[in-house]
Amino acid sequence: MRQKNENAHPIFTLFVHLVLIFLAFLCLFFFYILLINSTRNHFDIQKGFSFLPGTSFVSNFKKVMADANIPVLSGIKNSLIVSSASAILATYFSALTAYGLYAYDFKLKKPAFVFIMLILAMPTQVSALGFVRLVDRMHMMNTLWPLFLPSIAAPAVFYFMYSYIQSSLPMELVEAARMDGCGEFMTFNRIVLPIMKPAMAVQAIFSFVGAWNNYFIPALVISDNNKKTLPILIAALRSADFLKFDMGKVYMLITIAIIPIIIVYLLLSRYIVDGVTLGGVKE
């Protein structure tokens, strides 16, 4: 740790705090108005701006649920299925791949690793055309499968797992398990996975959120109303004639889409914020 000979000038410290408060305000302000407006009815919202909540939270919620054009309940359900499945597949198979490349020596080990590192940041959009055609030919249009199955190959999650496994899995442990007659798969599931738990939890959260927020590919694959995920519903709301809309309902639907994530984030923030860099990036 650095020795501090002196503290910073108080005026400078004050300035730093003012900048931080300003940025924090920017980050929170819009969500504050969102929450406030989700508790006000259409008429109140049209009257203007308010810092104080209204009393229409429940009625807005009921109105959104009752709207046949926006199938919110099935939207939440579909989003939950896709996000949970993505999180499970991405973390399990990334850990498996990371362990495979870390613990075994084989000819294609190095090329396989270099290959994954090269595609680490390749966007899925570049192959969207072929992907949609493939999904069509597999008769999986308007199903949720194509939204989570590709998560089995998640290069960024793999990289995180690989960095983590390097720093926290002693090979002696694996060898001891082998001596005890543990099969390779059992060694992975019983010995390695428990050690990977912290990394898996962090990546499960990121994968879940990523899938929950994903819009581009789902919008190309899903057109059935009862298969739509939340981002597609939001987009549908945007393309509907906006002026005819009950603004209370609009704010409520946005609230439903983002507030659960914020609540989970606030509960787990310490792990998430630390997890952004945990093994993820070398200095």
Partner: protein, 317 residues
Amino acid sequence: MKGSTKRKSVSYAKWGYIFILPFFAAFLIFQMIPLASTIYYSFFEYYRSGLNIIGPNFVGLENYKALLGSDFTKYMGNTLILWIIGFLPQIFFSLLLAAWFTDLRLKIRGKQFFKVVIYMPNLIMASAFSMLFFALFSDNGPVNAFLISAGLIDKPFRFLSTVVGARGLVGLMNFLMWFGNTTILLMAAIMGINPALFEAAELDGCNHTQIFFKITLPNIRPILVYVLITSMIGGLQMFDVPQILTNGKGTPNRTVTTIIMFLNNHLYSKNYGMAGSISVILFIICAVLCIGVYFSLNGDDSKPKKKKKKAARAAKA
């Protein structure tokens, strides 16, 4: 570490292949084959006209020629401008905050609170966030109502009908969604710098600014490169925010239409030939950037070390 994995008598090599098989199989099916067919279609005339499907007829590079004659370059320009508007404040504030958060002479109260708050927008659904901004910044939305009641303007400012307003909002949202993430990455990088460098600099009487430019910046260069390149790739992917904010129209006058929105339009109208050629150009650009990411993460370790030594010498000199 690696030495201890040496096989004794049993060969475990096949398990390596088995363990990495699902990843590569999924990648082959859902990425490689689609990419191959995307490249393939980019050489074909293949689109829908009314109810008829024209093609696929092989046309060579015609799609690429047509692309260069279309608004492709304009949308590339839009994407670049929108990315820069968001990236400049993002890197500026991230560097500033990362330096402040890691400066032990600065006593920041509620450091954890600020970190949690600035990272939060990164997890927000971009489409919902854009819908929120659309509602808040609409002509009779809360922001205009607030500005009028505060006496700052006398009639609503039409954010979404002016080029500056619409582009500014997209940039603001990208900035808000990403500066927290970048701050945390840079903080980790700064905390990884050898503390002796800072001590030496402080003993020699360097001030905050000198330490930042002479020690911090040169030492976090690999991470800065990583942040820059991944942000460029993210910028090329920009879609949700401008799409929802402008309802896919890129208003005013297609000045916020990004390259992926252009691709999306072609995919929706089943204009596969053109969609293919856009994808291929994007793929080539991203492939180059991905090589950059690879080297920023796996660059040989000698370089940063040399730099550290140089910085140490500079600090001592």
